[in-house]
Symmetry: C2
Subunit: 324 residues, 2 copies
């Protein structure tokens, strides 16, 4: 198999399905794409790669790998309050399998179409399965949401539910049957793009929860030089998660799991009604889970009033070498 | 080894060395970068990944892998006549090796600094060695160079010399000692950024020669719906290539080899003096190698006047699975 010939075939296949936008002056097919920026806006750029055996189980369907490759990047744009526009794709494949690629593109482009994102460039290489996406979006000058601007007194919110994807991974590692809803959360996360846009003039700080709530909220607190207290009983849980795990495991998954791709943001308490209007317009729930404090560190408050300091631990990705 | 903790360490290491530009409003450290576009310009975006064992021999030094990862993308921007500005990096590493990463960044950033390119985002993942870069540049509205606009009667030019990198690979495959100059051409290609900028108002069409002259000029001809004749004796050769190979092998490497990263462009014959001024100002030679014709196809003319039709064959990358 010649890498080169395969590469051309695969790129041709991708090119015919890449989608169109008026601001794509030249898409796939030259040395580079030519893109027209929107006046009055800044460019927001995010990039993340998914590797087989590290970021998803090997049995993940190609549709889902395609979907998730884009979703994790749109989630980063959402956390900035950016409107997605364009993306590029570096796809490494063990062999040139047209059916696999078609299914991958089905997933990738299903999500791209939802968000009017055009695929404007990329390359395919023979190698271990890996998909790196760079996503581009717009944000009006000086309106981007950042991690670093949480204010003392802000309420802390999180969209959707926490721990579902981590629950699926836990079942998978335990050799248990995976709950359908949890598995879907793991394989096809929903980037909260509309919510990010709606929060632009409301939230003080925002991050997407990809490495687990404690780790990601920790970044917000560190960068903002503040602390916080979380109300553990308020952490939103899906029925599926509550059904599948005991309370202690569920809490562990909600705090330390990863792959949630929900938005965690802070907003002045006076803006709570605006947050509620934003979540409603975006079609996603948001839940108040705590408050920003001047005292450094992150404290977890139990329903009985007990408070303990959180241990910060990043999410450890699925890892084939761990022998699981 | 936890992927997550490694990832944070590596990103911190990259972050401190990423370089600055006034138009980078927010670089590495949030969910995405925020970048200020230049007024009156379009955004040009290119992406290419290099995989160990496919795009470079396994014994390639980390400095060179870093350099080349960026170089191949700046070469694409050069072919569009774009001025480089920002890049992102997806790095997959078998293990978290700080010394290796430092050397990789030395090479990557040596080239980035030359071209004032800021590294604004990226991620690191544990996996087989692979480096994907997305490069961003500016071009004034409607001034980008394209493949598709070669005109009948244009002269065909190529910068630098051809076949050097392919010559190094050939020596490597043959188990011969690699010539130092040829190996350097393979490992540290020079993107012709200044030449691309200088050609913006002169050339009708431009491409970078990454897959071999015949393949890449073929793209220009196909997209422009024209043909061409090349004068084989005019193909520029380095002294090292001429010394290392017989005439037939040298010609094969110049026509079909890859990894040249020279610019192949077409310009009206009336602009020849402007091309010469452009190459001089850019500090690189350019050589006239043929002419665009209305008759489809690509003809190769020998010094004795004999003409034959070129076989189009893409460059086959170095490939560990070929058992070499």
């Amino acid at each position: 198999v010649s890498s080169s010939r395969d590469e051309f075939d695969l790129i041709a296949c991708i090119r015919t399905r890449a989608g169109k936008r008026d601001d794509v002056l030249l898409g796939i097919g030259d040395d580079a794409a030519i893109l027209r920026m929107r006046a009055g806006h800044d460019l927001v750029v995010s990039t993340d790669a998914l590797n087989a055996g590290v970021h998803f189980p090997d049995d993940t369907a190609p549709f889902d790998i395609g979907w998730k490759s884009l979703a994790v990047n749109l989630s980063d744009l959402a956390a900035m309050g950016a409107e997605p526009a364009w993306c590029t794709l570096n796809l490494s494949l063990p062999n040139a399998d047209a059916a696999w690629l078609d299914a991958f593109l089905d997933g990738f482009l299903a999500l791209a179409t939802q968000h009017r994102v055009a695929l404007v460039g990329g390359d395919t290489t023979r190698g271990p399965l890996s998909s790196a996406v760079t996503a581009h979006g717009f944000v009006p000058h000086d309106e981007a949401l950042r991690r670093s601007s949480a204010k003392v007194g802000d309420e802390i919110w999180v969209s959707g539910t926490l721990g579902d994807a981590a629950g699926a991974l836990r079942q998978w590692r335990d050799g248990a049957a995976m709950d359908t809803h949890l598995r879907e959360c793991l394989d096809r996360p929903t980037p909260r793009v509309a919510l990010g846009l709606a929060l632009r003039s409301i939230a003080n700080a925002c991050i997407d929860v990809s490495d687990g709530l404690l780790a990601d909220l920790g970044h917000v607190l560190d960068e903002s030089r503040v602390g916080a207290q979380l109300e553990l009983d308020s952490l939103p849980s899906s029925t599926a998660l509550t059904t599948a795990f005991d309370a202690a495991t569920r809490r562990e998954l909600q705090l330390g799991g990863g792959d949630d791709y929900e938005l965690c943001f802070t907003a002045p308490s006076a803006r709570a009604n605006d947050v509620i209007a934003a979540e409603t317009s975006a079609g996603v729930t948001a839940t108040r889970i705590g408050r920003v404090e001047s005292k450094p560190g992150l404290r977890l408050r139990e329903a009985d009033g007990g408070v303990r300091e959180a241990k910060r631990s990043g999410y450890v990705h699925f890892d084939a070498k761990d022998g699981i």
